[in-house]
């Protein structure tokens, strides 16, 4: 069934978007919740909006020594990302394989850390079911800023092979904001390493703009 891009969201009641693309991206406001059938899930499955923050040194000394400070902070953050071990399903096994000696992740400064209070990255590895979704949201909120989310595997990206079952959340980006998506079922350890490198590049790029949770 071909889906033509362009006819998406073309319901009669919506207005057409403006012809000129805006220079500053619009802030994300979660207005719609997912279609669920059960009333008990409406409050449990609302998404968390990403919160752009303002670092203390910027508030106190705006503009002074900002570029080298940004560079230093971004470089130190990207070199020591501590992921929270959040393996849910089969992707967890490949995540563990990436931590182990064959495809070492410790050489990038990445140390698995069980506690959310002291970790930087949350690797959602595996299928998130609607029963598990409140726990994922709680853990995301418990992580201190700056934090990032890597959505590992097809199930965390959009439901994966279980996308036709209604007890499965079709993608973890429906409840937490995601930075890097890793395709695969399960993704190879090299793919996970690639995603960490992409995340490091992203951290370096967004050091001067007020990215997520700076």
């Amino acid at each position: 069934m071909a889906i033509t891009p362009g006819t998406a969201n073309a319901t009669p009641t919506e207005t057409t978007p403006p012809a000129v693309a805006p220079s500053v991206p619009e802030p994300f406001v979660p207005t719609r919740i997912m279609p669920t059938e059960h009333p008990s899930e409406i409050s449990r499955l609302t998404p968390i909006a990403p919160q752009p923050g303002k670092a203390l040194y910027r508030q106190v000394l705006p503009g002074i020594m900002q570029v080298p400070a940004d560079l230093l902070l971004a470089a130190s953050r990207k070199s020591s990302l501590w992921p929270m071990t959040f393996g849910l399903a089969c992707c967890a096994i490949e995540m563990i394989a990436t931590y182990m000696a064959h495809y070492d992740l410790d050489r990038f400064g990445i140390v698995p850390w069980p506690s959310p209070r002291q970790s930087d990255v949350m690797i959602v590895a595996g299928t998130v079911t609607k029963k598990m979704a409140p726990a994922v949201k709680l853990l995301y909120e418990q992580m201190p800023n700056p934090k990032w989310v890597i959505s590992m595997g097809a199930c965390a990206t959009n439901g994966g092979p279980y996308t036709r079952y209604d007890r499965v959340l079709q993608g973890v980006d429906k409840i937490v904001p995601v930075d890097v998506y890793v395709p695969g079922c399960p993704p190879r350890p090299e793919a996970l390493i690639d995603s960490f490198l992409a995340l490091q590049d992203q951290i370096m790029e967004e050091r001067s703009s007020e990215g997520r949770g700076v």
């Binding site: 071990t85 959040f86 393996g87 849910l88 399903a89 089969c90 967890a92 096994i93 490949e94 563990i96 394989a97 182990m100 000696a101 064959h102 069980p114 595996g126 299928t127 079911t129 029963k131 598990m132 726990a135 853990l139 199930c155 092979p161 279980y162 036709r164 079952y165 007890r167 499965v168 079922c185 399960p186 190879r188």
Partner: protein, 375 residues
């Protein structure tokens, strides 16, 4: 082993919630412990955090597509999971599987038993407290096995290599030499684990006489596999209801004596040695030939009104597939009889009265894989 506290030292019972995110729950499993001091008074397990509906989704898919869902149901022993499913489809379609395919299936299933038990040792060692060394050893052995599986089927974990009727494609030309290499390194790995843990005083003190379940209780509650054999019950489906060519190879079934955590560990260690014995015998008997039957229908349509329950001995216990077909090319009902679900029912009985730290290693010794519990 657990002494009672003196009456003037009254404490309040504490409710501890372990999971669903916890480093030692082997996945998304949640248990609520009611604890008096350190002694577990009540344990309520909560599962379903990984219920992904493999059974319902298989009703929407062709018979050939079900193999992928079976892989993901038991991801550490995917070949054994696929085997039950393809055997069920073959039983209903009355397909005759050629001998070479059966021998290769046996070899791959036993190799998968090895890799699954290595993962058990790694995770169990972490639970007991030996943080690091068994885990890394386990993964070193698993990587050699997974490299072999990748050469054969193309994937590290989700093989989808067994098909109804035989195998997907022929194994590579150096299959026998590769399996011999892998066996040599696995033998060394088993010896390493044996030397590291089995006679370690602290390990024995932590695991002996902990989490005991008697043979009658285990049968009553429906346990199967190594956990049942550790209680002394001689029930191995490869011996009682042989499938593939298990009645033509010689192997022993190790049994435990007490049904405690140490027995469950030691039974698995001995099972690995027996698996290697089986693989060597299979390699000798492997002959050339086709891997799919000649008259293989393109579209698999099964007869109406038939059902079958196929059970095989997966590393975790009895993995059964109950397949009901009402004609057409999709199953009407596919039920996966999960070994881990039945073994997990015994957790409460084994843990009440033990210490909190023992509850963790009892959970580890049952060797659950949550995606099989929740399907």
């Amino acid at each position: 082993m657990v002494t009672e506290t003196a009456p003037e030292f009254e404490t309040q019972d504490l409710l501890i919630n372990v999971g669903p995110q916890h480093p030692s729950t082997h996945g998304v499993f949640r248990m609520v412990l009611e604890v008096d001091g350190e002694v577990v008074k009540e344990l309520v397990p909560h599962i379903g955090y990984l219920h992904r509906g493999a059974e319902k989704l298989c009703e929407n898919n062709d018979f050939r597509q079900g193999v992928g869902y079976m892989d993901r149901t038991e991801y550490l022993a995917a070949h054994n999971a696929e085997l039950s499913y393809v055997m069920a489809v073959e039983a209903l379609a009355e397909l005759e599987v050629p001998a070479r395919a059966q021998w290769i299936r046996m070899i791959l299933c036993e190799l998968n038993r090895l890799s699954s038990h290595f993962m058990f040792f790694g995770a169990f060692g972490v639970d007991v407290g030996v943080f690091g060394t068994p885990f890394v050893y386990a993964w070193r052995e698993r990587e050699t096995l997974i490299d072999l599986f990748e050469e054969i089927s193309g994937d590290r974990m989700m093989y989808a290599y067994f098909r109804a009727g035989g195998l997907a494609w022929e194994v590579p030309a150096n299959f026998k030499e590769r399996v011999h290499e892998v066996l040599k390194s696995s033998r060394q790995g088993v010896k390493d684990f044996d030397g590291l843990l089995t006679e370690n005083e602290i390990f024995i003190a932590r695991t002996k006489n902990v989490g005991i379940i008697s043979a009658e209780d285990a049968i009553e509650i429906g346990m199967s596999g190594s956990s049942l054999r550790a209680s002394g019950v001689n029930l191995d489906i490869r011996k009682t209801e042989p499938y593939l060519f298990y009645d033509q190879v010689e192997f022993d079934v190790p049994l435990g004596e007490n049904g405690d955590v140490f027995d469950r560990y030691y039974v698995r260690l001995q099972e690995m040695e027996q698996s290697m014995r089986i693989i060597e015998q299979c390699l000798e008997r492997l002959e050339d030939g086709p891997i799919m039957p000649e008259k293989m229908p393109r579209m698999l349509r099964l007869p109406e009104g038939q059902e079958v329950y196929i059970r095989t001995e997966a590393p975790r216990g009895e993995y059964g597939v109950y397949l009901v077909s009402k004609g057409g090319n999709k199953p009407w009902r596919l039920k996966v009889r999960s070994a881990c679900l039945s073994n997990l029912q015994a957790l409460r009985q084994m843990s009440v009265g033990q210490y909190v730290a023992d509850a963790i290693i009892i959970l580890g010794s049952i060797d659950i894989v949550l995606s099989e519990v929740d399907r």
